[in-house]
């Protein structure tokens, strides 16, 4: 630390005020520490750099997916199923789009209410009880289980007796989504201020009234975000679908017993085959999947912000 004003009194202060006044002014003496200024600038630059480095892969991915996917992305791609041979140009991924939509929606319909109720149980009823702790523990374990294991489980439990199908794919996605929904919703519900709940109880509201009319509305934006994270994760899962829905060139007609295409699996098949036509379709499929998740998220955001009155 350079001590005193001689080390680096700012030119303005030295010129503007008499020397004695500047020396006696503790504010001026503080700001003259050059080491401090240097440290401050260095820290700021380091943080900007770190933020940029984080952004680099994201931007690169977006750029590549758009650059490589856009040429193939046309009306035909969006509306036509996959051709019989990878070598052939033309055709599209509509079979995969429909399969993904069916499976994700089905999985969401099952896992989101269940997960939400589970989270409500954890926050409002179970709290630190034994059952709640057990549920929390297994949710955490489940979040960490590789998704291919989930696929294997559903394969054994459902595919072997009933065959491949949308329901089986949805089941595996639901199993993957459930712990994410539970844990993210729990965190969001915990953020609802205790004061709001107390206000409700003090007005003579019961437990369920308080949850349904105060806690859930107040937590809605956060709950939506967490849920959408789970949906996005499910929409991009490949491994479990290979084991539960497989894939198909046609648009699916039955929910059970019929192999069903999905966007990620089609991307996977397209990307690993040697023919340029198939690879190009894979790129376009990746772009389509990306946009799909984006649309889901935006819709959910709009829906949840509609009814809220946060400033």
């Amino acid at each position: 630390m350079p001590v005193g004003m001689s080390a680096g009194t700012p030119a303005g202060a030295a010129a503007g005020a008499p020397a004695g006044a500047a020396a006696g002014n503790p504010l001026l003496m503080r700001s003259t520490s050059r080491a401090r200024v240097v440290k401050d600038v260095a820290a700021r630059v380091a943080m900007w750099l770190a933020a940029l480095i984080v952004l680099v892969p994201v931007i690169l991915i977006l750029y590549y997916v758009a650059a490589k996917g856009l040429p193939t992305m046309d009306w035909e791609f969006l509306t036509q199923p996959t051709p019989y041979s990878m070598r052939l140009r033309g055709g599209g991924f509509v079979n995969g789009l429909i399969g993904t939509l069916l499976m994700v929606v089905l999985a969401a319909v099952v896992s989101i209410p269940l997960g939400l109720l589970g989270a409500i149980y954890l926050v409002e009823y179970g709290k630190k009880g034994l059952l709640a702790q057990v549920i929390r523990f297994f949710s955490d374990v489940m979040t960490g289980v590789p998704s291919v294991f989930v696929g294997l489980f559903v394969y054994t439990a459902m595919v072997i007796p009933f065959g491949f199908g949308v329901v089986m794919g949805a089941a595996s996605l639901a199993i993957i989504m459930l712990p994410i929904v539970v844990r993210s919703s729990e965190e969001m519900l915990k953020l609802v201020p205790r004061e709001l709940k107390e206000a409700s109880y003090a007005l003579g509201a019961g437990h369920w009234h308080t949850i349904s009319r105060v806690v859930l509305p107040a937590a809605a934006p956060g709950l939506t975000t967490g849920t959408m994270l789970a949906v996005a994760r499910a929409a991009g899962e490949t491994a479990p679908l290979l084991l539960t829905a497989l894939s198909a060139q046609e648009i699916v007609t039955r929910l059970v017993g019929e192999a069903t295409a999905s966007l990620p699996v089609l991307i996977y098949y397209g990307a690993r085959n040697p023919f340029p036509a198939g690879q190009e379709r894979a790129w376009a499929g990746a772009l389509e999947l990306l946009l799909l998740v984006l649309v889901f998220t935006l819709l959910a955001r709009v829906a949840s912000s509609r009814n809220r009155l946060w400033q």
Partner: protein
């Protein structure tokens, strides 16, 4: 004076788990009076006020002994539903805590969940007028309650409490988060409210207690010999003018004149 007390508290003791928070509280609260609960931090003021509407029940492990008689009925009796108690004994909290809903829905909340059959708009207007807020918000009833100022939010919380038509309102440091102007509005409002409601207020502000209340209860912290446990006791309960000019107990005198605590 001859009127039946709104509350009779007899040998009340509250503990959280194995820790005693408050004990030996016995006092009568006359209806349509303002009663201030004062004392140093941690002496159990909030614990005491939360006994009057069983808000302590919400904290797991809370045990309440003794009796709190509300118009003769022990509210801690086995067959009493705390929800019923809270519909009769409203509460306003330290920090204004309106729901993230519209002004109107905030006021209507209690009525709606209690299955109010009358005209909600009338109830909202009456309650907002009662809380001296109507003129400020009548054109914006559907705006978010969170857009109001802190003082307005607190009066909204009072309107919300009186919409349930209680006969007692508990106020846990209702003005401690407000500026002096908003504070004096709340204090004026309390004087109007006491024509119809019994008001029990916890306050850290001695001058506020002296200004607004008719009677004051001074709680103080006692410590056991080993210094390992502390709990609140009721030291003195008397007319506010008496407490602030000539308290009987030296601890009261020392505390209110700022000699400790």
């Amino acid at each position: 004076m001859s009127e039946e007390p709104a509350f009779r508290v007899r040998d009340l003791a509250v503990s959280y788990g194995s820790q005693v928070a408050l004990k030996d509280v016995t006092l009568d609260i006359e209806p349509r009076k303002i009663i201030a609960i004062i004392g140093p931090s941690g002496c159990g003021k909030s614990t005491l006020i939360r006994c009057f509407n069983r808000m302590n029940d919400l904290i797991p492990g809370t045990r309440v002994q003794g009796q709190v008689l509300y118009h003769g009925q022990d509210i801690y009796a086995n067959d009493v539903d705390p929800v019923t108690v809270r519909r009769n004994v409203g509460m306003v909290f330290q920090r204004p805590n309106p729901f993230p809903k519209s002004i109107k829905e905030n006021v209507a909340y209690g009525a709606r969940i209690n299955g109010y059959k009358g005209n909600i708009d009338e109830l909202v207007e009456r309650s907002l007028r009662g809380a001296a807020l109507w003129d400020e918000v009548k054109d914006n009833l559907n705006r978010s309650a969170l857009a109001l100022s802190g003082g307005q939010q607190q009066r909204l919380c009072i309107a919300r409490a009186i919409a349930v038509q209680p006969d007692t309102i508990l106020m846990d440091e209702p003005a401690s988060a407000l500026d002096p102007v908003a504070t004096s509005k709340i204090e004026d409002l309390m004087q109007e409210l006491k024509e119809r409601y019994t008001i029990i207020i916890v306050t850290h502000n001695m001058q506020q207690a002296a200004r607004v209340s008719d009677k004051a209860a001074f709680l103080y912290t006692e410590v056991n010999e080993a210094g390992t446990a502390r709990w609140g006791v009721l030291v003195e309960y008397d007319d506010t003018s008496r407490i602030f000019t000539n308290p009987r107990d030296k601890r009261t005198d020392d505390y209110i004149s700022g000699r400790f605590g």
